[in-house]
Symmetry: C2
Subunit: 435 residues, 2 copies
């Protein structure tokens, strides 16, 4: 690129109207001078060609993405992916590891999720010249942008109001066997878990509307049993049914589920489309919960893809009320910092959008409560065990009770072991977990 | 896992009804014995818990994913991502690099794209225990599964019939300046490119329905000029407009575009949702074209994510008629093998689905034709240059002519340089490319 063309993709942030720009933060690795690489990135992700042949014009001032801050973090001997660097086919001595802040004029595409994704993580970004690794770390959305999004209909407060629970985390449980179990016994074990103290019995992300267990029959059975469990325990309960399906069946499944007494719906956002959830939000009568399926390839590597908090913000914008995401667990491959960053993206002020309940997931049990509470520093979160409830030696009723007892221990400042002395369900949970 | 539980996730493929299973091929890296790792993977991706507590039952025979072939490729001293391995928090001396073939009973979720994605690349797969890298390499769909999908409405033959072009690749051109140019001059340069010989003038993937260039106005202007270009050249032309937008506006934008004379629509599949495209296909009156935005994090690394041909097959199933995907170009970061595998997935027999036109993309020009033709071994492909047409020194008319001349050279067995002696547009294109 010519020097003047590079300069045209740089700006002083103070000179830009903050209500017209998204602020994007990227990490990237470049085989060439970072200043040129960042300009080239801006070119590819916005005004690839900024004038017609033979016409004096320049679309960059209004439509170009602009680097406002560039920081070389390191000069690496090897890129994070020598393979990707090799595909660029250019010799290199060293690789620059860079953080770039880019202001993007969102008028290029508007307040539309698919077009936003194309702009900030589409071809232009992942195929920018001489960049051999790139990760979108964060997006700051101005209030003018957020104003077009409904956000959560219920949010944390709405979920708490539905359950009448204000002073502790919310206990979700994934009904297991997750796949194969017919609706009648499936509903029965959900009911048992409610009796034991579970707040929200939910379908596994793999269980949808299938011939051997339709959403209609599951929600009929669990809708009836939910009311029985509420009468018996004096507590409010939620059945969260997974309506993930082809988009043209989603609203119909929502309506069936709600009419039958399911009082929350889950949609796997990334597999169905965030835009689809935005559509569902306009129609929904109950809270919508997200599961993180199909997000791993974006979020797992620290030098590549998209940091999860970006997706978390987008999911809050489109209207999810609760977000199930990878939590602490060796199987989940998420760092403590990620778990916290996502919780912040759920809970911290964001325009006028309500907070969304963070539910960090992964092979949880009663013992997962204290580390999460310590890290997040709030009771505004959920946990979502599966086998710890439905594989508990006493069955789901005992499994659910062990969660409540686990929290009682935390809230009294006791160790699980101490509290388990008088609480058999917790004692068995500890024993089960240690195997 | 107990040995009996590991064994329960293995089967002889010959014993399974091929019409009830998808055949999945994975590459993975494991810190533990591959046989156990593959069984654990199957457990996580299907029947995580296969019986209720205290009930004699086993959902694995009918609902479990089953390893039918396991091949240790190598024992690595280091995993492809030491970072991901470290998150597992388990010491290791070596890492097993493995190919596994897994038969998945699709009755678990049915012929639904979002649920398919959850099963084959959801939490279970990317969060399987002790696996520190995984890539879905391929899916073989039985005819019983494919029978539920419409596939391309037009396909390669339909696109050729629309254009009356049967003996050469199809020439797409991305109208540039891609962002910022108002509809009137935008339409004018598209028109010029048609006059020069372009088949399909298209919107950039970044250009949607925006206040400064609505789909309504663009399609009105280009609809009129398309007919003029057809009258003037005696050739049929296509205007491919990008209707990527929030899902609840997609059918309306299709209808506006078609009524105005746009005769193909583009939808960025991954940003909008493949299921949304399946919905659009049921409604569409014109060919639907895919762009590969937002796919990079899945497809770029050879040891992680999803190989592009998987997405290519899915996109053919949901009904795309043409697929724009990363082609040969250092910016595109795709290997020759990938480009060919995707073309095969577009063109080779797949149930009764029509072939879909492969359009390998990336900073193309007249000189891109011969290497692509040589690699693909067929004229059934498209190229999709932008700046080579719209930044040509003579403008879009000359740029489009240079493509046609480039193909004339190939079809006569001449070098570009030879043929350029009598063809000024091609000569200038060569000169432009060498700078």
């Amino acid at each position: 690129m010519l020097k003047a063309d590079i300069d045209a993709f740089y700006a002083d942030q103070a000179s830009l109207d903050p209500q017209k720009y998204l602020v994007l933060k990227y990490y990237f690795e470049s085989l060439v001078d970072p200043r040129e690489a960042a300009a080239h990135l801006c070119q590819e992700m916005s005004t690839a060609q900024w004038s017609r042949v033979g016409v004096e014009e320049d679309y960059r001032p209004e439509f170009g993405a602009k680097v406002v801050e560039l920081k070389v973090l390191d000069e690496l001997a090897q890129p994070s992916s020598p393979f990707l660097a090799s595909l660029i086919g250019k010799p290199y001595d060293k690789v620059y590891a860079v953080n770039a802040t880019i202001c993007y004029p969102y008028g290029n595409f508007g307040t539309k999720i698919p077009n936003l994704l194309t702009a900030v993580c589409g071809e232009g970004v992942f195929h920018a010249p001489d960049i051999c690794a790139i990760r979108l770390l964060d997006i700051d959305f101005p209030d003018s942008y957020l104003a077009d999004f409904q956000g959560p209909q219920f949010g944390v407060q709405g979920l708490r109001d539905m359950l009448g629970v204000y002073d502790r985390p919310l206990f979700f449980g994934v009904i297991k066997p997750n796949v194969g179990l017919p609706p009648e016994p499936f509903a029965e074990i959900g009911y048992q878990a409610w009796l034991g103290g579970l707040d929200i019995a939910k379908d596994d992300e793999q269980l949808g509307d299938v011939s051997w267990s339709t959403v209609r029959e599951r929600t009929q059975r669990l809708g009836v049993l939910r009311k029985q469990a509420e009468a018996k325990t004096g507590e409010k309960k939620i059945y969260l049914t997974n309506i993930t399906d082809e988009v043209d069946r989603l609203l119909e499944l929502h309506d069936i589920a709600v009419a039958n007494g399911a009082n929350a719906v889950m949609v796997n956002g990334m597999t169905t489309g965030f835009s689809v959830v935005r559509m569902l939000r306009k129609h929904a009568k109950v809270p919508i919960v997200s599961h993180f399926d199909f997000m791993a390839a974006y979020i797992q590597l620290p030098w590549f893809g998209v940091k999860d908090q970006v997706f978390t913000k987008i999911q809050r914008m489109v209207g999810y009320d609760a977000l199930i995401y990878p939590g602490f667990d060796t199987r989940m491959k998420a760092s403590e910092e990620d778990v916290l960053a996502n919780a912040d993206a759920c809970l911290k002020p964001m325009g006028s959008l309500k907070p969304m309940l963070p539910v960090p997931a992964g092979s949880q049990w009663a013992g997962s409560l204290k580390p999460l509470y310590d890290t997040l520093g709030t009771v505004d979160f959920g946990i979502v065990p599966g086998r710890a409830v439905f594989g508990h030696p006493q069955g789901p009723r005992g499994g659910a009770a062990s969660l409540r007892q686990g929290w009682e221990a935390v809230s009294r400042g006791m160790t699980l072991e101490e509290y388990a002395k008088d609480h058999e369900e917790l004692r068995l949970a500890i024993e089960m977990h240690s195997h």
